[in-house]
C-alpha cells in the first residue's frame, strides 16, 4: 500500500520555471523543454517579451553601475534566477553580492557557477520573507549591515500579489539597511488597457504556477513607500538613465517600469 510522503515535493522539470523561462528569453540554454514551450507560447503572442527581458537586464546593469559609482559595494540580488552574463558580481568585481532565489535548480546552478568566486554567496530562500532572507547565515556572513546595501528587486515583484504585501516586503528590506542603502526595482505593467494579444499572454501567466501581476507606475511608486526615488523617478525601464546613443529602445510600449530609491 502506498504511503504518504512527508517531504518537500520533487524537483519537477516538467513544470516551467520563471528563472529558466527568463533565461530562454535572454537567449540562454539553461532551460528545459517545458520552459521553452511556455516561453514560446508567450513569445508567439507577444514577441516583445524577449526585448523586455533584455531591457530589464540592461536596466540592472545601469542601476548597479550607477550605485557602484556612488560607492555602494554590497548587493542583495533578490530573485536572481539563472546567472547568464552581466551578473552583478561581474559588474562590480570588488563588491559583495548575495544571490537569493527559491528555485532549487536556479540555486544549484548559481552555486556551481559561483563556487569559486570570492565575494559572492547563494541563498535558497523566498524573497517574500525578508526576515528569513536577512537572517540567512550567508547574508549575515557576507554583508555588513552597518554599510549601505543595494536591494535588487528586478523583475520579481510582479510575481507577488497584493495579498502578500509587496510594499511590506520592500519595507522589510529597506528597514534592514542603513541610510544610503538603495532599492532597485523593476516591474511589469502598463498604464493603458491591454491589447487582446497582451491580454492573452498575461492570461497564460495568470494560469501558470507563477501568475504575473501587472501594476501601473503609480502603483509601483507606492511599493517604494517613503524611500527617496532617484531621478528620473519611476519611468519606462529603458528610460532609466540610458547611455546616450548607446542603446535602442525595444519596439512598442515599454511593458514595464523601473526605479531606484534611496533610504535617507
Amino acid at each position: 500500500m502506498e504511503r504518504p510522503s512527508w517531504a518537500p515535493a520533487d524537483v519537477d522539470l516538467d513544470q516551467p520555471s520563471v528563472a529558466r523561462v527568463y533565461d530562454y528569453y535572454l537567449g540562454g540554454s539553461h532551460n528545459f523543454a517545458a520552459d521553452r514551450a511556455f516561453a514560446e507560447q508567450i513569445l508567439k503572442v507577444m514577441p516583445v517579451v524577449a526585448a523586455l527581458a533584455r531591457s530589464n537586464r540592461a536596466f540592472l546593469r545601469r542601476a548597479v553601475t550607477t550605485l557602484a559609482d556612488q560607492g555602494v559595494r554590497q548587493f542583495l540580488d533578490l530573485g536572481s534566477g539563472i546567472p547568464t552574463v552581466g551578473n552583478v558580481h561581474e559588474l562590480v568585481p570588488d563588491g559583495k553580492v548575495v544571490y537569493v532565489d527559491h528555485d532549487p535548480v536556479a540555486v544549484a546552478h548559481s552555486r556551481a557557477i559561483l563556487a569559486d568566486v570570492p565575494g559572492t554567496a547563494v541563498v535558497a530562500a523566498d524573497l517574500r520573507s525578508p526576515a528569513e532572507v536577512l537572517a540567512a547565515p550567508q547574508v549575515r556572513g557576507l554583508l555588513d549591515f552597518t554599510q549601505p546595501i543595494a536591494f535588487l528587486l528586478v523583475a520579481v515583484l510582479h510575481f507577488v500579489p497584493d495579498e502578500q504585501d509587496p510594499a511590506g516586503i520592500v519595507r522589510g528590506y529597506a528597514d534592514a539597511g542603513v541610510p544610503g542603502s538603495h532599492v532597485v526595482l523593476s516591474h511589469a505593467g502598463l498604464d493603458r488597457p491591454l491589447t487582446p494579444a497582451e491580454d492573452a499572454a498575461w492570461e497564460m501567466y495568470r494560469r501558470s504556477p507563477t501568475p504575473l501581476i501587472l501594476r501601473t507606475r503609480a502603483e509601483v511608486a507606492k511599493l517604494l513607500g517613503d524611500l527617496t526615488v532617484l531621478e528620473p523617478g519611476v519611468v519606462a525601464t529603458h528610460d532609466w538613465r540610458p547611455v546616450p546613443g548607446a542603446e535602442t529602445a525595444p519596439e512598442g510600449d515599454a511593458f514595464g517600469c523601473a526605479a531606484v530609491a534611496r533610504k535617507d
Binding site: A7, G28, H30, N31, F32, V85, A112
Partner: protein
C-alpha cells in the same frame, strides 16, 4: 603579392576601415541578442573583430582559423541569436561588396562555422550545466526528503500521543506505538481495522458530520473529544485531532489523526460535575441541580404552552431534636435513610428528588397533569418517610411535612415557585406537621398583604398615618358621659382607615406596639388634659389600653410617668385597661409593673373580663378599680323578646361579686335600649357601645 582589392586605397588605413565596418555592423545587429554591453562597448568590441576581418580580407593567404575565432568570440560575448549571424553575414556582403567574392565567401563561411561551433559548444555546456544543477537540486530535495522522512518517522514512532494515518476510505495504514498502547491492539491488528470499527455510541453527534466534511474537502481539520473502546473493553477518552492531507490537485488523500488520552481528565471532570450537582451526604441531586433543572423548565415554558410543574417541599419533622439528642451521626444516617427512601419511591420519569440542605428535600415533578399528580407524589413521600428508622441502635419514628405547589409553568418564576413552596411547607408545619399542605394562592395573598402591612407599620407611625378616636363611657344611671376610651386607627394610603383589629395583633408580634402604644397614650393624655383645662371636673376621664407586650416592656412605668408629666394630666383622670394576662404574673400575683403603675396614680381596669381566667380570687389582691365585661356576655342581653337567662345570671353574679370587692363594672358593646335597661337593672355602673355613641374625633364628644 598584395590583396586582390580593386580599390586598394580603401584598405590602406585599416583602423578607419574597421571602425566604419563596426559602425554598420553594430547598427545591423543591435538588439538581436542579449549582451552585457552598452552600445559604445559593443562598438569597441566589434571594431576589434572588424580589424581581424579586414585583415583576413586583405591577407595574402586566407587563414580560416582566425575568422572562425571571430565567430566564436561573438558567441562568447553572448551574441547568441541566429539573427545576429544572419545580419553579420549580410553586413559583410554589403561592406565587402567590392572585394573578391571568393575571399568574402571564405570569410563569411569561416565566421559562420566558428559561430556555429561556439554556439553548439555553448548550448551543450549550458544544457550540461543546467542538467547538472537540476540533478544536484534533485539530490538535495531527495536528501531533505529523506531527512524529513526520517525526522517524521522518529516523531511518529516516538510520540507520546497516538497517531494514525488512514486513506480517505477509512482504511488504517499506519499507527504508532502510543496508539497501540492506548487502545490495546497491536499495529497489525489496527491496520486491519477501518473507521467504522472506531465509531462509539458516545461519540459527539457532530462527529459524523465533521468527518464527512473532512472527506468532502469542506474542512481541513476537526477536533473533538471522543471515546474509544480499548481491546479489553474499558473506555478510553481521547482528544482527537483529525486532519486531511491533500494531493497535488487538492483532493483529500490521507487522513492523519492524533489522539491524546484524556481518560483521567474526563473521569475527573465527570466526578467534579457529579460533585457539583450532588449532595455528598445523600448522593441525591443538590439544590444547584434542582434549580438548574427548574430554570431549564421555565426557560422552555413558552415552547409548551399549558405545561404545568409541581414542587413538593419536604422537611423532616423534629429533626433538630433528633440531631441534638442523638447526635449528628445519627442525624446524618437518618437523612441518608430518608434520601434513600425518597429516591426509591419517587423515581418516575420527570421526577427529580433533590436535597436542598439540612433536613429539607424537594421533589420536582415535570409536566404535571394536575394537582392530583403532585399530591399523590407528596403522599407517597410522606408514607415512605413515616416508616420507623433504625439508626445506631435506636428505632426512631419520624414524619415529615410537605408543602405542595402545582401550577402552570408559564407566568411563574423560580423565586415565586420556591417562595410558594416554602410558605406552604410552613402551613403544613403550623397545621401540626406530619401532613401535606396544598398551596392556596388566596391565603398566600392574604399573608403577603398582612406581611406588607406589618412591614410598613414603622414607616406609617413616622408618617403619622395613625390617629386616635374616642368612644364615650356612659354612666347608666343618668346617661352622662363620664369617660372616654381611646381607640387607635390607621389611615392606610392603600387600604383606607383600618381599625385596631387589623393591625394591633401584628404590632404586638413585631413589638411595634410599644412605640405605637406610647404615642396613643401621649395623644390621649394630651386630649384629656385639654378637656380638663377647658371644662374642669366635668371633663371625662381617659381610658387607654395597654397590651401585654407593653406591660412587659421595661420602660412602661417610666413612659406613663413621663407622659403624665408632659401632658399635665392628673393621674387619677387616667384609666389603664389591661387584659387579665397583662396584670397577672405567672403565679397569679400582681406584676411588678402593675404595682408601680398603680403607685403613679392611674386607675386600673381589667379589660375583656370573662374571656380569660376570670378568677375572682386574685382580684381582691390586685390594685384594680374596675372590670370591663366582655362584649360577648353583654350580647346575651340584647334580644328584645327577652334576655338569655344564663348570661343574665352570670352578669348579675359578676356585678355582685365586683361590687363586693369594691370594683366598678363597665359593660362593653351596648347596642340597644333593652341592653342598657337590663344592665341598669342588674346594677352595672357604666356602659359603652353604639347605643350611646360610636367612636369619633375628640370634637364629637359631648359631656
Amino acid at each position: 603579392m598584395t590583396a586582390l582589392s580593386p580599390t586598394p586605397t580603401s584598405w590602406d588605413r585599416p583602423h578607419r576601415a574597421a571602425e566604419r565596418l563596426a559602425r554598420s555592423w553594430s547598427l545591423a545587429i543591435a538588439g538581436t541578442s542579449y549582451v552585457s554591453m552598452n552600445g559604445l562597448e559593443v562598438q569597441d568590441f566589434l571594431t576589434a573583430l572588424a580589424s581581424r576581418l579586414i585583415h583576413a580580407l586583405t591577407a595574402e593567404t586566407f587563414d580560416p582559423a582566425d575568422v572562425r575565432e571571430v565567430g566564436s568570440t561573438l558567441v562568447a560575448a553572448h551574441f547568441t541569436e541566429p539573427t545576429t549571424l544572419e545580419r553579420t553575414v549580410a553586413v559583410l556582403s554589403e561592406q565587402f561588396a567590392k572585394a573578391p567574392i571568393k575571399r568574402v565567401a571564405e570569410i563569411q563561411g569561416a565566421l559562420a562555422a566558428g559561430y556555429a561551433q561556439a554556439l553548439r559548444d555553448r548550448v551543450l555546456d549550458e544544457q550540461e550545466e543546467i542538467r547538472t544543477a537540476a540533478l544536484w537540486a534533485r539530490a538535495r530535495a531527495e536528501e531533505s526528503r529523506r531527512v524529513s522522512e526520517a525526522r517524521f518517522r522518529a516523531i511518529f514512532a516516538g510520540a507520546a500521543i497516538g497517531m494514525s494515518v488512514s486513506t480517505v476510505d477509512g482504511q488504517v495504514i499506519e499507527v504508532n506505538q502510543a496508539l497501540c498502547d492506548m487502545l490495546g491492539y497491536s499495529a497489525d491488528e489496527l491496520r486491519l481495522m477501518a473507521f467504522e470499527d472506531f465509531v462509539h455510541p458516545q461519540d459527539p453527534p457532530v462527529a459524523a458530520g465533521m468527518y464527512d466534511e473532512l472527506l468532502s474537502g469542506g474542512r481541513d481539520q476537526f477536533r473533538i473529544e471522543k471515546p474509544y473502546a480499548h481491546k479489553d473493553g474499558h473506555q478510553v477518552w481521547t482528544d482527537l485531532v483529525a486532519s486531511v492531507i491533500r494531493d497535488e490537485d487538492g483532493e483529500p488523500k490521507w487522513l492523519v489523526a492524533m489522539f491524546e488520552d484524556i481518560t483521567e481528565r474526563y473521569l475527573l471532570q465527570l466526578r467534579l460535575r457529579h460533585q457539583a450537582l450532588h449532595d455528598p451526604l445523600t448522593q441525591l441531586p443538590n439544590r444547584t441541580m434542582f434549580f438548574d433543572r427548574l430554570a431549564e423548565l421555565l426557560t422552555g415554558a413558552d415552547d409548551e404552552p399549558g405545561s404545568r410543574v409541581g414542587v413538593c417541599y419536604l422537611d423532616v419533622d423534629g429533626f433538630k431534636v433528633i440531631n441534638d439528642t442523638l447526635g449528628h451521626d445519627v442525624g446524618d444516617q437518618l437523612l441518608q435513610t430518608v434520601a434513600r427512601r425518597l429516591a426509591r419511591s419517587i423515581s418516575g420519569e420527570g421526577q427529580l428528588v433533590a436535597r436542598m440542605g439540612g433536613d429539607e428535600f424537594v421533589v420536582l415533578i415535570e409536566r404535571s397533569e394536575g394537582t392530583g399528580d403532585v399530591v399523590a407524589v407528596a403522599e407517597r413521600a410522606l408514607d415512605t418517610v413515616r416508616a420507623p428508622v433504625h439508626v445506631g441502635g435506636h428505632e426512631i419514628s419520624i414524619s415529615a411535612s410537605i408543602g405542595v405547589v402545582e401550577q402552570p409553568l408559564h407566568g411563574t418564576s423560580t423565586g415565586e415557585l420556591m417562595k410558594a413552596a416554602d410558605t406552604t411547607l410552613y402551613w403544613a408545619k403550623a397545621d401540626g406537621r406530619n401532613r401535606l399542605a396544598l398551596f392556596d394562592a388566596e391565603r398566600h395573598a392574604r399573608e403577603v398583604t398582612r406581611y406588607e402591612l406589618s412591614a410598613s407599620m414603622p414607616a406609617a407611625l413616622e408618617r403619622r398615618e395613625f390617629f386616635v378616636e374616642y368612644q364615650p363611657l356612659v354612666r347608666l344611671s343618668d346617661a352622662v358621659t363620664i369617660g372616654v376610651e381611646a381607640l387607635v386607627r390607621w389611615r392606610h394610603p392603600r387600604f383606607g382607615v383600618l381599625g385596631p383589629d387589623a393591625f394591633i395583633g401584628m404590632a404586638e408580634e413585631t413589638g411595634l406596639i410599644v412605640p405605637l402604644g406610647r404615642w396613643v397614650l401621649h395623644e390621649a393624655c394630651k386630649q384629656a388634659a385639654q378637656w380638663h383645662r377647658d371644662h374642669g371636673d366635668k371633663a371625662p376621664f381617659m381610658s387607654v389600653n395597654l397590651a401585654v407586650r407593653q406591660m412587659r416592656d421595661r420602660t412602661i412605668v417610666r413612659d406613663v410617668q413621663a407622659i403624665l408629666e408632659q401632658t399635665g394630666l392628673a393621674p387619677r383622670r387616667l384609666q389603664l385597661e389591661l387584659t387579665e394576662s397583662a396584670v397577672m404574673g405567672s403565679g397569679g400575683e400582681p406584676t411588678e409593673a402593675l404595682n408601680a403603675l398603680t403607685a403613679l396614680g392611674p386607675r386600673i381596669a381589667i379589660d375583656d373580663f370573662g374571656t380569660g381566667y376570670s378568677n375572682f380570687a386574685y382580684l381582691r389582691h390586685l390594685p384594680v378599680h374596675s372590670l370591663k365585661l366582655a362584649g360577648s356576655f353583654v350580647a346575651g342581653l340584647r334580644p328584645p323578646e327577652g334576655a338569655d337567662p344564663v348570661d343574665q345570671k352570670i352578669i348579675a353574679a359578676v356585678i355582685g361579686l365586683a361590687h363586693a370587692l369594691n370594683l366598678r363594672v363597665t359593660a362593653e358593646g351596648v347596642e340597644t335600649a333593652e341592653q342598657a335597661d337590663r344592665l341598669l337593672a342588674l346594677g352595672c355602673d357604666t356602659a359603652q357601645g353604639w347605643y350611646y355613641a360610636s367612636s369619633g374625633p375628640a370634637s364629637s364628644i359631648r359631656f
